[in-house]
Structure formats: C-alpha cells, structure tokens
C-alpha cells in the first residue's frame, strides 16, 4: 500500500535545558511534496527541522519527548544509527557552509565517507550532482578551485549538490536563502521546484512569499506550537486560525 507520509512527528516536545522550544508538535511531511514551515523568529521552526535528521544531537543539554517516524521507523529509537538517518535525510543550512576544500572535493567527501572508492563512480556522481543543482555550467572549468571562491549563491547550490550526491530521500532546507541576494534566491527556489520531482522536501523560511512560491503544504509555527497546517493555497487565502491570518497579513513577525 502506498503511504503518502514520509515523515511523521507525533507529540514532539523539545527542550534546550529548561527552555521548552517545541510544544506537542504533530505533523506529517508528505512524500514527493514541498512542505514549508513558516513563523516568526524563535518560533521553533529551525529546531523542528533539525530534529528530522537528528542534527540537534550535537547540541548539549537537550531533551526530546514524543516520536518522529521516517517511513514508519522511529528515528530516535536506540537501535537506529543517526549517521544512517542523516544519509537518508540531507540538510542544507542557513549559511552556505562549504568545506575549505575544492569544489570537487566538497561533493566527493560525502561519497567517500559513505564508502565509495571507485574514482570513476565518484567523478560521475560529482558531475551529476552539480548538474542537478544547476551549478555545473558555472564551475565545470574550475572543479579544483577552492569552494570558498564561489559567490554566496553558488556556495549554497554547491551545498545542495553535496547533499544530492549521497542520494538522500528527503531534503531539509533551513532558511536556505537567508543570506542570499534576490537573484540567487530565485535560483534556489527554481531549483527546489525542480528537485521536488525526485525528493521529499521540507523548507523552513521566514519569507512568506517564498513559502507561497515553492511549497505545496505550509505549517505555521508560533512560540513553539504548531498553530495550523494545510495546503499552502488554503493557508495563504483562507487561514482558519486568527493568529495565522495575523501573521500572513504582516501584522507581526
């Protein structure tokens, strides 16, 4: 039977020390669609998305209650290897974070740590990933140059390519355009719409227009709570909750 739910969060509470960042979040991320998470700063949207690939494991003194399932498997069960989860659920961060290595090595790294040894295969997948991330034409002449020489927008697409190389099933974008100019932002958005054909995508953004442009479903977070979730069209045209309406019409945020 086809299950449209890729990731399922059930009654998730999350604490940084004594501070509760997420309160009883239950939501689904559907397979093959783009789910946007919007909300004002500090609403817990980044915290939530970073739970989906266990990136918050790296933060000390945190407590999680509730469950998050990836295709029915509880990703926080002790039997699960977080490294394996992160390979299946890739992540692109707020600030482009290429390694201080060459463009080629940046992408090859993910393959190498996942056990690829054959140079031809690695080369082929590097090229493929760069093409998928719409960066190939701009960098094909200088794959050996340092990735730090690229512009911010190019770096972010390189990070996307790095993600794609290890063939994840889900892509998480944590405010991927927060530090980019409008033209680079447009390129990333175009790319997200393209990638949606092959991947399940979740994107955190504080830019409501962006959510409206790229997403199929939207979740609105406020003060650590999930206020409302639904088809993007509905959320932006006929929100059920007064707080959602206030936010999308720009009365706060």
């Amino acid at each position: 039977m086809f299950d449209p739910v890729k990731i399922k969060a059930q009654h998730v509470d999350f604490f940084y020390g004594n501070q509760q960042a997420l309160k009883d979040i239950s939501m689904d991320i559907d397979v093959g669609r783009v789910t946007a998470i919007i909300g004002p700063s500090g609403c817990g949207k980044s915290t939530f998305i970073r739970l989906l690939n266990r990136m918050n494991d790296l933060v000390a003194h945190t407590v999680l209650r509730g469950h998050i399932y990836l295709e029915g498997q509880d990703i926080f069960s002790p039997a699960v290897d977080p490294v394996e989860i992160r390979r299946r659920v890739g992540m692109v961060f707020q600030k482009p974070n290429p390694f201080p290595k060459s463009i080629f090595e940046n992408i090859a790294y993910g393959l190498e740590v996942n056990g690829y040894r054959d140079r031809d295969v690695i080369e082929e997948r590097v090229v493929m990933s760069l093409k998928k991330a719409a960066l190939w034409e701009e960098v094909k002449e200088r794959l050996r140059d340092s990735a730090l020489k690229l512009s911010g927008g190019q770096q972010q697409r390189l990070c996307i390519a790095r993600c794609l190389a290890v063939a994840p099933e889900v892509l998480l974008f944590d405010e991927p355009c927060a530090s980019l100019d409008p033209i680079s932002t447009a390129k990333i958005e175009e790319l997200i719409l393209e990638l949606k054909k092959d991947y399940t995508i979740a994107i955190v953004t504080h830019n409501m227009q962006q959510a409206a442009r790229v997403s199929d479903r939207t979740a609105f977070f406020l003060l650590g709570e999930l206020v409302e979730m639904g088809e993007t069209q509905h959320i932006f045209t006929a929100p059920k909750d007064k707080r959602t309406e206030a936010y999308i019409t720009g009365r706060f945020g």
Binding site: N53, M55, L58, A60, V83, E84, R86, R87, G90, M91, F93, K95, N97, P98, F99, P100, K101, Y109, G110, E112, V113, N114, L148, C159, R162, C163, A165, V166
Partner: protein, 291 residues
Amino acid sequence: MKERIYKTIFAILAFSSLVFLVGIVIILFKEGLPIFKKVGFFSFLFGRAWYPTHSPPEFGILPLILASAWVTVGAVLVCVPLGVGSALCLHELVSERQRAVLKPVIEILASIPSVVYGFFGMMIVTPFLQKVFHLPTGLCAFNASLVLGVMAVPTVCSLSEDALSFVPKSFREASYAVGADRWQTLTRVVLPAAGSGISTAIILGMSRAIGETMTVLMVAGGAAVIPHSFLEPVRPMTAAIAAEMGEAPMASDHYHALFAIALVLFFITFSFNIMAEFVSRRFRIKLGLSG
C-alpha cells in the same frame, strides 16, 4: 594639550619594547660578530669541538647546536602526542563543564617555574633513567627531552585547542549532514581545517623548548660533545651560555663566542616565530576569518 601629553606618554610606552628589541639585536651583533673574524663563520658554526678554555681554544659550536636539536626533537616527540592528544580530548570528549576545569589546569603547568621542572628532572627522572637503562648518569638528552616536552605541553595543548574551537561549527554540521560519522568528521574535516593552527602550536612549543635554559642546564648533562644517542649527556646552546658566561673574561674570545651562540639561537627562535605567524595567517584565511 592634555590629550597630547597622554598620546606622547602612551606612544613612548608602546615604542619602548621596540627599543629593547633593537637594542638587544644590536648588542648581540656587536658582541657576537668579533668571533667570526677570529675563527670564521663556517668553522664556528660547523666546528666539531668546543674547548673554549683550552690553549689554544677551539670554538666549534656544532656539538651545541646538535644538542639543542636533539633535545628539541625529543621534546616535540613528547609534547605533540601529549599536547595535541589532550587538546583533542578536551575538545571532543569532555563536557563543557569539564573543559572549563581541565583547560586551566593544563595551563597551570606553564606557570611552574622552569627551575622546579629542572629540580623534578634531577630528583625523579634522573635516577629513574639511570636504573631503567643502566646508565652511568641519568642526566642526558633523553631526560631533557622528557622534561622539556612536558613543559611545552600547555603551549601546544592550549593553542591546539584554540585552533580546534576556531573551526566553525558549520563545517561539522555539513559533514554530519552528508552521513559522516564522528571519526570521519574529526579526521577529514576538523583536523585538516585546524591543521595549520595546530602546526603553529607545535612550532611555538618547539620555540619554547629550544630557548629553555634552566631545565636543560640542570638535566641535560652538560657534555659539549657531538651526541650519538639520546642517552648521552649533551650541552645545548642555552646551557652553554648560561654555564659559561660567568667564567668568560669580559671581551675575551670566549665571551664573544657565547654572544655569537646567542645570536644563532636568536635567529633560530626568530625564524620559528616567523614560521608560526606565517602558518597561522594562512590558517585564518583558509577558514574564511579575517587575514
């Protein structure tokens, strides 16, 4: 008016260290150079015999240079694993609270006076080495290396830990996000990124070891002969200067020779520091920090 007085006062204070530096260099040259006229630059540097008080005296400092080199290399072999290892441990394994205690504790090692280290080397390490290796004397290059190595640990550890913590968190996250485990992240992302910072730490540690005087004077054994093994007594450059300066008649050849040794030593530590500066600048550029 008042402001100008302040400005002048602070400018004088700031430039005084420059004056000291220039003054020291000038004196080193002025007092050191005459010996080269006497014995020649190369036969001074590469002469194999140091008999400054014989007649005729011989002023070859190769045994002293080699002694310094052996002791320093030995110290590096001790302080790199200990210093970098403890930096990695501090950075990777212990909690924030434990680090807040442990790092200052390691740094306290640096505040122990070198004469205390020397004393420790004489009283504890010397008999130990003598017993273990059946030596005629436990005062030897190996002893000096061990003690100097431990002395350099705080420098190496503290600076290496700084280098590790300068590696942006985002590199780690990026590595984890593509499915790398902790070990891969450490060896393939964090260490290479911190590599030149750690090299700087090691170079400064070496600089500390080669310039150290009191300890080597007490534990290196003091024999001015070309060393053939770590277990022989040696006389590093610093020890030679410290031990002999009191006996060398003012303005004698011996006196000038000791200044020339100091000059050589100065160039060695100076180039170490330049190297460290150069490497750490590259490190900052590599990490995208300001150059």
